[in-house]
């Protein structure tokens, strides 16, 4: 509110130099003016603010001046307020007066209205009396009309006479009807004739049917004949079958014969085989005998060889013996010679003789032996020769036997071959016969089958013919019967239709008569009604015209009154509006005053706060300074004490050292015990000394720390003293800034927010009212203004797309994206 006021003031100031400028110009100027106002008020401060904080009292005095100025302004405002209150009182008085006058006017008008109403009532009563009189007149008129109506009644009677005439017409109609009936009867007769014709036709058809039945019988006979033929054929067939059986039997016999023959053949073959076996045996025997013969011959030859060997041996032996004999003879000769030659000695001769005798014996013996061996040999030779002869005999016998057997065999072979040939010939002939028989049989069978098929086909044909003929007949009969039934039904239908027609015509006649009567009565009623209505209408019209006139008059009066009332009301409303405007102005002034007061209070408060702050700061600074100084003093005192203590101890130490040296000198080489004690004292003292020095160092450290703290405290104090005027400096910039986007005045921010709110309102309104295509463009603006997150913006887009498309699914808000009101990011003040 404060900013608004400021703006207003500024605008007042700005409008003066540039009246009638464009609407936008004041807007920008307002910002400038706001800032310039700020500069005016804080001008002096800005110049002094940075100088020092020592001149606070002077600042305060300036503040006070300001305050005084503001107070003066405030007093002006209060005066203004007082004036306004006075004005307000005056206005209230005027208003009361006005209200009184208006009330008076209203009362007068009310009275007027009531008076006029009373007049109206009187007029109405008069008019009603008049109307009563008129009504009486009308009643008399009505009576006259009644008379007229009785006359009309007579007319109606006449009309009834005409009705009678109409009835006559109706009678005529009935006559016509009867004629029509006659016509219909005629038609019926014709139909009956037609029927009789149809019956005749039927009879003809029945005859035809009979003839066809006769034909049927003929065909049945034919079929019987055919069946007989069939039986004959079947008999033939059976005969043939018998023949066939016989043939089959003969065939079987022949086959038996063949088998027998074959058996015989087999037997013969067996026999031949046996013979051949015998032959083989004989041959084998022959071969064996030949082998034996060969063996014997071999033996014989070996024997011969032996014989020859023996012969040769014998010859050799004979030769040797001969040689021996020769030599012995030679010897004998030589000996004899010698004997002869020598003759010397008998003994030698005797011996020689002896030897000759022995040799001769021996020769004899060998000759004997030789003869013996020759005899033996001869014997063996004879034996052998006999043996060979025997063997030769046997051989010849065997050969003879063989020859015999061969001849036998040949003979047998010839015989058997002959026999076989005969048998085979007979077999072939038998087979040929059989084949011929079989062929015959086949032919017969074929004949039979052909005969049977022919028979069957013939039978089928016949049965087919029979069936077709029968069916034809049945169809014909059925057709004829259907025709007959149709004709009969047609006849019946015709009859019923005719009867129906007649009844309908009669009904029509009756209904026509009834309608006639109804029409007559309705006519009468309608005529009566019409007349009555006419009367009423005329009377009513006159009445209504009069009433309308009266109504119009009253309406006019009423309108006049309403206009008066409206005028009064408008006057009242104007007055009240004026009053309200005045009140509003007053309220605004009050508000302004209150605001000014509030501002003044705030400024005073701020001042007070600042003063109190200053004082507190001062006191704090003083306190801190005092404390610091105290501390410093304490510390320095302590230090001095310490130093004194140190000096004292040092002097002690020196004295002690002196003492020690003296003692050393004294006790040099005398008492070691005492020396040791003095040395321990010295060590103790030295320790004490060190401790003291450490303490001093620590004290020095603490002093330094305290001094640092003091310095810090001083700094902070100075800072605080310096900082305090700073915010005021910021509020009052020395140079007026150019109107730009970056101006962030408190008032300006408020202003912009208000504008933004208006803008947001407008954008949202457009977004909701515009078409989808336009709304889609507005999504970004809406989301920027409402600080939507990216997900929220996308959700909006998706929903809009879903609306724009005919299909697709409604996107659900996912994750944290949920349009929530619970945590608004940017609250609008």
């Amino acid at each position: 509110m404060f900013t608004k006021l400021k703006k207003k003031l500024a605008e007042e100031a700005a409008i003066a130099p540039r009246p009638g400028g464009a609407a936008r110009i004041p807007r920008s100027i307002s910002k400038e003016s706001i800032t310039s106002v700020g500069a005016d008020s804080g001008d002096d401060f800005a110049s002094d603010g940075s100088s020092s904080r020592d001149d606070l009292p002077s600042q305060i005095s300036r503040r006070n001046d300001q305050i005084r100025r503001l107070e003066a302004k405030l007093s002006d405002y209060t005066e203004q307020v007082r004036n306004l209150q006075r004005m307000k009182e005056k206005l209230e008085l005027a208003l009361e007066k006005h209200q009184d006058s208006s009330m008076r006017k209203l009362q007068e008008q009310n009275e007027m209205y009531q008076a006029s109403r009373a007049k109206m009532a009187e007029e109405c009563a008069l008019s009603i009396e008049k109307k009563d009189q008129e009504w009486l007149v009308k009643l008399s008129n009505l009576e006259e009309e009644k008379k007229k109506l009785s006359e009309q009644l007579e007319d109606m009677k006449q009309k009834s006479l005409s009705l009678f005439q109409k009835r006559e017409d109706l009678d005529e109609l009935e006559v016509f009807q009867q004629q029509e009936m006659a016509k219909i009867k005629h038609m019926l007769l014709k139909k009956e004739q037609l029927l009789s014709k149809a019956e005749k036709d039927l009879e003809v058809k029945q005859r035809e049917a009979e003839t066809s039945q006769a034909e049927l019988q003929d065909s049945q006979r034919l079929s019987d004949k055919l069946q007989e033929d069939l039986q004959q054929l079947q008999e033939e067939n059976s005969k043939l079958a018998e023949q066939r059986a016989a043939l089959v039997a003969s065939q079987e016999g022949a086959e038996k014969k063949i088998t027998e023959l074959e058996q015989r053949l087999q037997e013969l073959q067996d026999f031949i085989q046996r013979l051949s076996l015998d032959l083989q045996k004989a041959q084998s025997a022959a071969s064996s005998s030949e082998k034996r013969l060969n063996e014997i011959q071999d033996e014989y030859e070996t024997l011969k060889l032996q014989h020859e060997q023996l012969k040769s041996k014998m010859a050799v032996e004979g030769q040797e013996k001969g040689a021996l004999i020769i030599r012995l003879q030679e010897k004998v000769r030589s000996l004899e010679k010698t004997l002869e030659g020598t003759f010397s000695g008998e003994e030698g001769l005797q011996q020689l003789l002896k030897e000759k005798a022995a040799l001769e014996v021996r020769l004899d013996e060998t000759r004997q032996q030789l003869s013996e061996t020759r005899t033996l040999h001869a014997e063996t030779r004879t034996q052998m020769e006999s043996q060979t002869s025997k063997l030769n005999n046997r051989l010849q016998e065997m050969q003879d036997l063989l020859q015999q057997k061969d001849t036998e065999l040949n003979q047998f072979k010839d015989e058997s071959s002959l026999k076989i040939g005969n048998l085979e010939q007979t077999l072939q002939t038998i087979r040929e016969q059989l084949q011929a028989r079989e062929e015959e049989l086949k032919q017969r069978e074929e004949q039979i089958t052909t005969c049977q098929s022919e028979l069957k086909s013939e039978r089928d044909k016949l049965t087919h013919q029979l069936h077709s003929v029968r069916q034809q007949h049945a169809d014909k009969v059925e057709r004829l019967e259907a025709q007959v039934s149709a004709l009969e039904s047609a006849r019946e239908i015709d009859r019923t239709s005719a009867q129906h027609n007649i009844s309908q015509l009669e009904q029509e006649n009756a209904s026509l008569q009834e309608r006639n009567k109804d029409l007559e009565t309705a006519l009468k009623k309608l005529e009566a009604d019409q007349e009555k209505m006419k009367e009423e209408l005329s009377s009513r019209e006159t009445v209504s015209v009069e009433i309308a006139k009266a109504l119009e008059e009253t309406r006019r009066q009423k309108e006049d009154l309403q206009q008066q009332v409206a005028d009064l009301m408008s006057a009242i409303t104007q007055n009240t509006q004026e009053m309200s405007l005045k009140k509003e102005e007053l309220a605004r002034k009050d508000e302004e005053a209150a605001l000014l007061k509030g501002d003044y209070d705030a400024v005073v408060l701020k001042m007070q706060q600042l003063q109190s702050d200053l004082e507190t700061y001062k006191t704090r600074a003083a306190q801190s300074e005092e404390s610091a100084e105290k501390h410093v003093r304490d510390v320095t005192e302590q230090l001095q004490e310490q130093r004194e203590a140190l000096l004292a101890s040092e002097s002690q130490v020196s004295s002690l050292q002196d003492e020690v040296s003296t003692l050393h000198e004294r006790l040099h080489g005398t008492h070691e015990h005492n020396g040791e004690v003095a040395a321990g004292d010295i060590a103790l003292l030295q320790k004490e000394n060190r401790e003291m020095e450490q303490q001093i160092a620590e004290k020095n450290k603490t002093i330094k720390q305290l001094q640092q703290r003091m310095a810090e405290l001083k700094k902070t104090l100075q800072k605080e003293l310096r900082l305090k005027p700073d915010p005021e400096e910021k509020l009052n910039p020395a140079d007026p800034p150019a109107p730009s986007l970056t101006v962030t005045n408190n008032a300006d921010l408020n202003d912009s927010r208000e504008i933004n709110f208006e803008y947001l309102k407008h954008v949202v309104l457009k977004f909701m009212s515009a078409r989808e295509a336009e709304a889609f463009h507005l999504i970004k603006a809406v989301s920027v203004l409402l600080n939507f997150s990216v997900e929220e913006e996308n959700l909006l887009k998706e929903t809009l797309e879903y609306k724009m498309s005919w299909f697709g699914s409604k996107p659900a808000p996912k994750g944290t994206v949920r349009p929530s009101i619970s945590k608004p990011r940017m609250p609008w003040t």
Partner: protein
């Protein structure tokens, strides 16, 4: 009809905000967004940049003081990526006034001759009298058609 519409739009004095109007001119359908020029709502211009074929920049030819702001705003706007291919039409408005700058003055003040990679044209208009709008729209339609 059209001229009436556009001048209506130009004269549309929404206190705060903008106006949307769909206008058909020479068989071309325009969705015209009238964005307010107030300082406080200028930042929201960028919300409407997407899918823009052409920018009609209406300048007060009488306001010599603020033509500089107008220039800087225009330059900032044309730097936007979304408006890279948009055709620029400048209306040097309020030409019915005596103290109005000429279109060339306005063009120079806005720095239009220095624009690169931009199809632009300036037209002198008067929203109150409704003059100059027809030529401007004619040019815009032709350039849009030639672009396609």
């Amino acid at each position: 009809m059209y001229q009436l519409n556009l001048s209506d739009i130009l004269l549309f004095s929404a206190a705060i905000g903008f106006n949307v109007e769909t206008v058909t001119y020479k068989n071309l359908k325009f969705q015209v967004w009238d964005l307010g020029g107030q300082t406080s709502i200028r930042p929201y211009w960028r919300c409407y940049y997407s899918n823009t074929d052409a920018v009609i920049y209406v300048v007060d030819s009488c306001d010599r003081d603020r033509i500089g702001i107008s220039k800087s705003e225009l330059v900032a706007m044309l730097e936007e990526e979304e408006l890279k291919k948009a055709i620029l039409v400048v209306f040097a408005n309020k030409q019915d006034m005596e103290q109005a700058m000429t279109p060339t003055e306005v063009a120079n003040s806005l720095g239009l001759p220095a624009l690169k990679d931009r199809k632009w044209q300036i037209f002198k208009t008067s929203a109150t009298k409704g003059t100059g709008l027809d030529e401007a729209m004619e040019w815009l339609v032709e350039s849009l058609k030639s672009r396609q």
